[in-house]
Symmetry: C2
Subunit: 315 residues, 2 copies
């Protein structure tokens, strides 16, 4: 079956760097190869695909390296670190998927596109940075680093201190035309890694990067809209979403219409620190003309493709 | 004039990181913006373009950061560092060029493609690594690091010790199809940064990366061939090449035919450590059907485009 439907697949952090596992490159490659099993199901069904991924642990490590070598090697701003991880992680996912395709004797190209995303110069998060990034520090340690590198910092009470950066809302993929061309040709494109590189438009009309991080799922929904995808798959570490999560009256959500999901979001079922951005990303995609959003796990993605099971959001 | 000729432009190290200048990101961006002036001349003449660049200082710094943080952050192999610099430097060149286009009120897209390049699994350089990479060390320092990281090392007599890696010959761009599609559409593609990511094919048919570095100009000539470019511009730090370089009987080379250039290479006029790989890259491109190779500087590129002056190699 070759439907030639176009989909964006957003890989969760666990697809490459599961929590509690040492983040070595060997482990990352092994996890990525496993995740390719799920992606191959989409390819075998004839989907045209763009694939996005997180970069939390990787950009944290990149920043740590910059920090530890800062007296010997140039300091890299966060935007360059984001671009770096788009390159390195893109290469890893790309090569793993190419090898899966070779093993399946399928002839499909895979490429990685460094992705800049426009945000508003006056996004409210710029004045109120609250996205944690990088490692954990004591108050004294972080005070020294904040002074040296110009960080904004925040205490997580009882746990320690971390750097915070703005997390602006993504408006438009700068590289959308090239990504859409390639996806339409059937080339699998890895894009918007780590939420892409945030860029704003200065008063003189030129692009400028700055130290910020875009939520990966929100970036993916903008990508899905900008390349005209019909379907958007958010592959995370739960099989489906739930209301009253973790409580006695927890209820899993199967198929749900946009308006009903918006009502549940309004009732506070999806906290900003966990499922909230995924739900918001799903809503944005459907409101911008998308047909279906699936939220499920890597392991259940194939079953969801075949049976329509697990969380499916429709207009 | 819209000729729609396709060209590959290989930017020399001085386009981004001139020798003797602190390699900060601010300096790199400033130099890159200056280099875009030369690239804009090609765009205004209607060229379809792929742009390549070196990554010597950047990958050296990336390796230094990995080394200094190696007890706290995962060690990145050289292939990942190459991919990282393709991302970070690609972003920098891409955004600088996008801003030049905005200022010129020209509507052309620019994208960066992470580029893997196939090399032979039995390339002779793998047994005899000789490409210097990263910093300089004393004998004691490097002995400790070589043991810790498994480096091969080499003394530069009277100067110190450095790590060496293989520099295999590039055979084919894995991502050639996507790059060619985009270039043919008029999208400007930044590719094969730092010579690309070297990959060999294992006995089981799968791709595998390894610690090596491909010469940037040789990689660029393979890219130029693989995307069907007619012209290949090597922009370096001299206005044209010369025989008897630096001697009393030095003679600049203007237009030269392939056979004559091969004869001069055979006579030893172009040492392996300096102009040799550029000359070899030029020869390879013309022998594979390329029409013209220009070797000149960023500053003289426009004059060369208009007048045909400086070194021009033809079949």
């Amino acid at each position: 079956m070759n439907t030639n439907k176009t989909a964006v697949i957003a890989l969760g952090g666990n697809a490459i760097s599961p929590k509690g596992e040492l983040d070595t490159i060997a482990n990352q490659f092994r996890n990525t190869r496993k995740s390719c099993v799920a992606i191959m199901n989409f390819i075998k069904q004839g989907y045209h695909l763009a694939i996005t991924h997180g970069n939390g642990p990787q950009v944290g490590n990149a920043l740590l390296r910059v920090e530890m070598a800062s007296d010997k090697a140039p300091r890299l701003p966060l935007g360059i670190c984001d671009a770096d991880t788009e390159g390195g992680m893109g290469y890893m996912i790309e090569q793993s998927l190419q090898n899966s395709l070779i093993q399946a004797q399928m002839d499909r190209d895979v490429v990685t596109i460094i992705t800049q995303i426009i945000v508003d110069a006056d996004d409210p998060s710029i004045q109120h940075p609250s996205k944690y990034i990088g490692g954990w520090y004591t108050k004294d340690e972080i005070a020294r680093l904040a002074k040296k590198f110009g960080w904004q910092i925040k205490e997580i009470p009882g746990k320690g201190w971390r750097r915070v950066v703005p997390s602006p809302f993504p408006r438009k993929i700068i590289n959308r035309k090239a990504i859409k061309h390639l996806v339409d040709l059937g080339i699998i494109v890895i894009a918007a890694g780590g939420g892409g590189i945030p860029v704003y438009i200065m008063e003189n009309g030129l692009y400028e990067g700055f130290d910020a991080v875009i939520d990966k799922d929100l970036a993916s929904s903008v990508l899905a809209r900008d390349i005209g995808a019909q379907e958007f798959f958010i592959l995370t570490d739960v099989d489906q979403i739930a209301i009253n999560f973790g409580k006695a009256n927890q209820e899993f959500i199967d198929t749900i219409r946009l308006d009903d999901l918006k009502a549940l979001l309004g009732e506070g079922h999806f906290p900003a620190g966990s499922m909230g951005p995924k739900i918001q990303a799903a809503i944005n995609f459907i409101e911008n003309g998308g047909k279906t959003v699936i939220i499920t796990s890597l392991e259940t993605a194939q079953e969801s493709l075949e049976s329509g099971k697990y969380t499916r959001i429709t207009p």
